[in-house]
């Protein structure tokens, strides 16, 4: 099928850096980020739009990057977990997850961090219900949610005090 060789040029900005690539239309955004750009911090968990491990931020909104085509992200600004750290310093959310045992195996953590980041951008002082509701699309199978919620609250506090 010669159609399968169609390549579409796309331009995206990921963590502040612009990339131009030619991609096959069926390439998933998460594969583009991981395999084409080599940014493997974004994880593929269920690959069915369920678990949220692949959550990234596209033009300010969280999305599940396993359920987006790379071509759909053409022209957009993307933030992945690699973009959280600034000048070798972990983001307050990352520090809070580390200090509050917000992760055990860490597989869901990149998605948890991106969803939490979007939440705190909208609501700097979320209560437990707000956090649970916002993280409902991110599944953790080992840490349990108590410490994740504690981590988000700790990060919110530290960001408010900044």
């Amino acid at each position: 099928m010669s159609e399968s060789t169609q390549l579409v040029p796309i331009t995206v900005t990921v963590n502040g850096k612009a990339y131009q690539r030619e991609v096959e239309p069926r390439l998933l955004l998460v594969e583009f980020i991981r395999a084409t750009l080599g940014l493997t911090g974004t994880h593929i968990g269920c690959d069915t739009s369920y678990c949220g491990a692949c959550t990234i931020i596209v033009d300010g909104d969280t999305v599940k990057s396993c359920t987006l085509l790379a071509v759909q992200a053409d022209g957009s600004e993307i933030l992945t977990v690699e973009g959280l750290e600034q000048d070798g310093e972990l983001h307050p959310l990352q520090q809070a997850f580390s200090q509050n045992h917000g992760l055990q195996c860490g597989f869901c953590t990149p998605g948890m961090l991106m969803s939490s980041l979007a939440l705190l951008a909208e609501n700097p002082d979320p209560d437990i219900k707000d956090i649970r509701k916002r993280l409902a699309g991110n599944i953790c199978r080992c840490t349990g949610y108590q410490n994740i919620i504690k981590s988000v609250q700790a990060a919110a506090k530290s960001l408010r005090e900044d």
């Binding site: 099928m1 169609q6 239309p25 069926r26 359920t67 409902a136 699309g137």
Partner: protein, 298 residues
């Protein structure tokens, strides 16, 4: 998981999109938010030859209220709708828009995509029955307007003809002393509901029902409605007895499949409790109380 290969087009206008769909034939598919279509493609349940990306078409993402006549552009996302003024004014819309899947999916999925997909578990087709909504479609032969009842024909089957696209959803703000509620039960936020119920009630005077719309979702190949169940309530008292009778009548008209979300008998039991809960919230809201209620999950 990878979709089978397809060609990709991103037309810049609605006219161009319809022209492309019409030229490429029915192996071409429109792509909006992709939250239903992309999982289907990844599972290879469908292998379209071409995807026409309509997500960026201009001026189809609006949410307007023109003197009580609501029009929602087909490309408005569930998140856009959940956060809109319409959701504040018509709580049943907020229940639905804010209860679909999770934030990530609501940020991408569109109302037009949801009604066009006509998945029996999707919430919009059912919800729109409670508001007697109209679906505006545009295709090679121009524009036409269908009621939601005439639009949803069967599971995954709509009245859309070749190269026709949904462009707008219309409904009226319910009259004063009305209230509605839409509740589904699902095992986790990103899951499809095992069962959902939508109820929109207008009160004549305290506890007497002036008019009512009842709908069940994920309870058959398409949204379940029942004139008989509505007739039990219309003009009558909204007593517990009458609500039980109406619930019984509409559940008798349902045909929930036994599947991974539960057995048919579990779903019937679930529909009954969701019905009573939604009815009580709808009645409370019709009395002017602000009750928060949406999908429930464990």
């Amino acid at each position: 998981m990878y979709p089978a290969p397809f060609r990709y087009f991103r037309p810049s206008s609605l006219g161009e999109a319809i022209k492309l769909l019409s030229e490429l034939g029915d192996s071409a598919k429109p792509l909006a938010g992709g939250q239903t279509l992309i999982p289907v493609l990844k599972l290879r349940m469908d292998e379209p030859s071409d995807l026409i990306d309509i997500a960026r078409l201009p001026n189809i993402r609006y949410i307007q209220n023109d003197n009580g006549q609501i029009s929602i552009g087909a490309l408005a996302t569930h998140a856009n709708i959940a956060m809109s003024e319409i959701s504040k004014q018509v709580p049943i819309v907020r229940d639905c828009a804010g209860g679909i899947a999770d934030t990530q999916v609501r940020n991408r999925g569109t109302i037009g995509g949801s009604v066009s997909a006509a998945d029996p578990s999707c919430d919009w087709p059912a919800l729109l029955h409670t508001l007697d909504a109209e679906i505006v479609c545009q295709g090679p032969n121009g524009k036409r307007v269908l009621t939601i009842r005439d639009f949803i024909l069967d599971s995954y089957t709509t009245a859309l003809t070749d190269a026709e696209l949904v462009t707008e959803i219309r409904f009226k703000v319910p009259e004063n002393h009305s209230g509605g509620s839409y509740i589904g039960f699902k095992k986790a936020a990103p899951a499809y509901p095992a069962a959902s119920v939508g109820i929109q009630i207008a009160l004549a005077e305290e506890d007497v029902c002036k008019d009512v719309r009842l709908v069940l979702s994920a309870a058959g190949p398409k949204p379940v409605i029942s004139e008989e169940a509505e007739a039990v309530l219309r003009g009558n008292s909204l007593s517990k007895d009458n609500l039980e009778k109406a619930a019984e009548a509409i559940i008798a008209a349902s045909d929930p499949p036994s599947d991974s979300r539960g057995s048919a008998s579990f779903k019937r039991t679930m529909l009954h409790s969701l019905f009573m809960k939604a009815a009580n919230i709808a009645i409370d809201r019709a009395r002017g109380n602000n009750i928060i209620g949406a999908h429930e999950y464990v």
